[in-house]
């Protein structure tokens, strides 16, 4: 690992992403948690640029830091704010055991990926990235692409039907 600008960019972005995640776990107010997560999403977009995936980075900023964050803020503001302060019974032990379990999982996977022998082959992913993605989607992945549009339509209709007020309630008001 040589010291270079790319290395510093990676370290900075990774640090911001992890700090955002840790703040998500530790802040008290729900809105603050969502705002902390925006930092994580934006720095993950930077990581995508380091991995020569410019189009995915743009989509990440649009979808995650834009749409999903706003939709979650709507969800928080339309419901009564419930801040994570009261501990339920046995909550502390549950948290400690879960923490140990997650650490164990992380250690197991880390042993697998530590010094994972990946040979680097020069790639041309950064040249005409968006055009290449478009070509791949409209030739090799045309059927999954159309299926995604059906899925989005189904999700749209389903979300509207689920969130719609019941007819009886609407008549009363």
């Amino acid at each position: 690992m040589t010291i270079s600008g790319e290395f510093f960019a990676f370290m900075g972005l990774a640090l911001v992403a992890i700090i955002g995640g840790v703040l998500l776990l530790n802040l008290n107010k729900v809105v603050h948690m969502v705002v902390a997560l925006i930092f994580t999403f934006v720095s993950i977009a930077g990581i995508y640029i380091l991995l020569s995936a410019e189009f995915v980075a743009a989509v990440q900023i649009l979808i995650y830091s834009g749409a999903i964050t706003i939709i979650m803020l709507f969800g928080i503001m339309l419901t009564k704010p419930y801040d994570d302060e009261s501990e339920s019974k046995g909550g502390k032990w549950k948290k400690i055991l879960l923490f140990l379990g997650v650490i164990g999982f992380a250690f197991a996977v880390y042993v697998g990926i530590y010094n994972f022998p990946i040979e680097q082959v020069p790639s041309a992913l950064h040249e005409n990235n968006t055009m290449e993605i478009g070509k791949a989607i409209y030739t090799k992945f045309i059927i999954p692409f159309e299926l995604v549009s059906v899925l989005l339509l189904a999700a749209l209709v389903g979300a509207i039907i689920l969130a719609k007020r019941e007819d009886k309630e609407a008549d009363k008001e």
């Binding site: 690992m1 290395f7 992403a17 998500l24 776990l25 991995l51 979650m72 923490f99 790639s123 989005l152």
Partner: protein, 104 residues
Amino acid sequence: MSSVPASAFLALALILFCIGLFGALTKKNTVIVLISIELMLNAVNINLVTFSKYGMAPSITGQVFALFAMAVAAAEAAVGLAILMALYRNRKTVNIDDMDTMKN
């Protein structure tokens, strides 16, 4: 050629996945649980994009797959929020410990 090894990206994805997993299992507010699940999906996307650049046969397929995963994640977030709204109208709570109708 990149100066950052692939293991570093995989380790970052692992850390973010673990944060999301811990948040999804411990948080009480259902909205935060949904957001933690989004964080886990994001970590998986980092893995997909990493393997599309490194390895013996770098190709664009990993990035296309990450885009599909994002579309599914957006649909999941919208439907999850709609279910949360319906539940909040009926039960007046977003505390995940109170949603135990099927337990009794």
